[in-house]
């Protein structure tokens, strides 16, 4: 590849040697990151670099969405408002009942000297960016360690459990979705109280694992977090069962579930901040 103006016998490494060097560096990066988690500083650096860009890029997109949606949404909003007023009236009744129950619950807990449930403080976060990783599904949120976030906190939206905070940067954080492959969530079936383990299977779906074939499960059953892991507060809706099938080769049922949270729709989520609990022997 000698070109005019370039030395024909220039003393520099050939492309193959340079490829080998960079491959070596790249593979050692992979190993250092996967085995020793030693590159979190680099991640924080990138997040500081890209966070303002993401915020800035989001603004015109939001404006465009607002403008296109403005006219079509007016009628919709009126309808929605009417529906919400009706719903509000019903909810007010429930709120009264819930307040009554909470008071009663507090008294009973005081009697039993139990801890209060974790997950009392809530941080609202807007969804910044959806990651494009095929091996684990992530969301990026616009709050980070500044707002008190830690690795491991549960993240919910209006409909249910969305996932768990897995990486925290100064001004942003990454959430691994419940539908991400091999993300485990301890759940129980609302109708029967049967406890189990829901795992993400990628593709925005989940499966309920290790259910013996005589278990009473039906399509439509809701799964709620069981709370025995001390990570998720109990009783958050996670998924509904969409299909139950038996297989000849396995002693367990194959249970497909659909997550309830709008994993690819919701734009705002809540992060539940629980005080770290120390278990006493």
């Amino acid at each position: 590849m000698a070109m005019p103006g370039q030395l024909m016998f220039a003393r520099r490494l050939g492309p193959t040697a340079r490829l080998a060097i960079w491959l070596l560096i790249g593979l050692s990066c992979v190993i250092v990151d996967v085995r020793y988690h030693a590159l979190d500083g680099l991640r924080s650096g990138f997040s500081l670099l890209l966070q303002p860009v993401r915020e800035a890029v989001r603004a015109p997109v939001n404006v465009a969405v607002e403008l296109t949606g403005f006219f079509t949404r007016h009628r919709l909003l009126q309808k929605e408002r009417d529906a919400l007023l009706v719903e509000r009236a019903q909810l007010m009744l429930d709120v009264d009942r819930a307040a009554e129950l909470a008071r009663e619950n507090a008294e009973l807990r005081a009697l039993l000297q139990l801890r209060t449930r974790p997950g009392q403080k809530v941080v609202h976060a807007a969804l910044l960016y959806q990651g494009h990783d095929w091996f684990a599904q992530h969301l990026t949120l616009d709050v980070g360690s500044g707002a008190g976030l830690r690795v491991g906190l549960p993240v919910i939206d209006a409909d249910g459990l969305a996932g768990q905070v897995t990486r925290v940067y100064p001004g942003s954080s990454e959430v691994t979705l419940v539908s991400s492959a091999n993300q485990l969530t301890p759940v129980f079936v609302e109708r029967t109280g049967q406890r189990g383990l829901a795992a993400g299977s990628g593709h925005g779906q989940m499966e309920l694992r290790y259910m013996p074939s005589h278990t009473d499960l039906r399509p439509g059953d809701r799964l709620l977090t069981s709370g025995i892991d001390r990570v998720y507060p109990a009783g958050i809706p996670v998924a509904t069962i969409s299909r139950v099938s038996r297989s000849q080769s396995s002693p367990y049922l194959r249970v497909d579930c659909l997550p309830l949270a709008g994993l690819d729709r919701s734009r705002g989520v809540l992060v539940l901040i629980a005080e770290p609990q120390v278990t006493k022997p």
Partner: protein, 166 residues
């Protein structure tokens, strides 16, 4: 530095197009648009590796790959290794690629872009989880289309017409 053609690619143009590609990836993509999103950074980077190999080559590919890894929340090095291999393949086939008109060039780029995606798949497979499907190969197809459009645009821009004159 070799001024191969007087108009093509000064630093400002290279960095501007790369910055634009990074910005495009920062948009809040979601749903099917995210699934078919071409890898803007990869295409632009390979384009400059083809036309200005003295300026954009392995080091730039590695850094942009790390950026892509951060972007997707993937393992550090996954895209970096894949991009470096992509640059190597482009440099290897460079003289051949430069002979073709945009459509045939895009067809020649297809195995390279597919190879890059496969390397990403392989490293993710070994380092994190087995893949859940072959969705990972869709961006390779859209990247090929993007390559064709860019090559066509550049050719029209330089006033050479859409068809190869040879």
């Amino acid at each position: 530095m070799t001024p191969s053609t007087p108009t093509a690619g000064n630093w400002r143009r290279i960095l501007g197009s790369l910055a634009l590609a990074v910005l495009l990836e920062q948009l809040p993509w979601s749903g099917w648009a995210l699934a078919v999103r071409p890898d803007f950074v990869l295409v632009v980077m390979l384009f400059w590796a083809l036309h200005q190999p003295a300026r954009i080559s392995f080091a730039a590919a590695f850094f942009l790959g790390l950026l892509a890894d951060f972007q997707d929340g993937a393992v550090f090095g996954q895209h970096a290794v894949a991009y470096v291999i992509g640059v190597y393949m482009v440099l290897y086939l460079r003289l051949r690629l430069l002979q073709f008109d945009p459509f045939r060039q895009a067809a020649q780029m297809a195995p390279i872009l597919l190879g890059v995606q496969l390397v990403v798949l392989l490293i993710g497979w070994l380092a994190v989880n087995p893949p859940t499907g072959l969705d990972i190969l869709i961006p390779a197809l859209s990247s090929i289309v993007l390559w064709y459009l860019i090559a066509l645009f550049v050719r029209l821009w330089h006033g050479k017409g859409a068809q190869d004159r040879a």
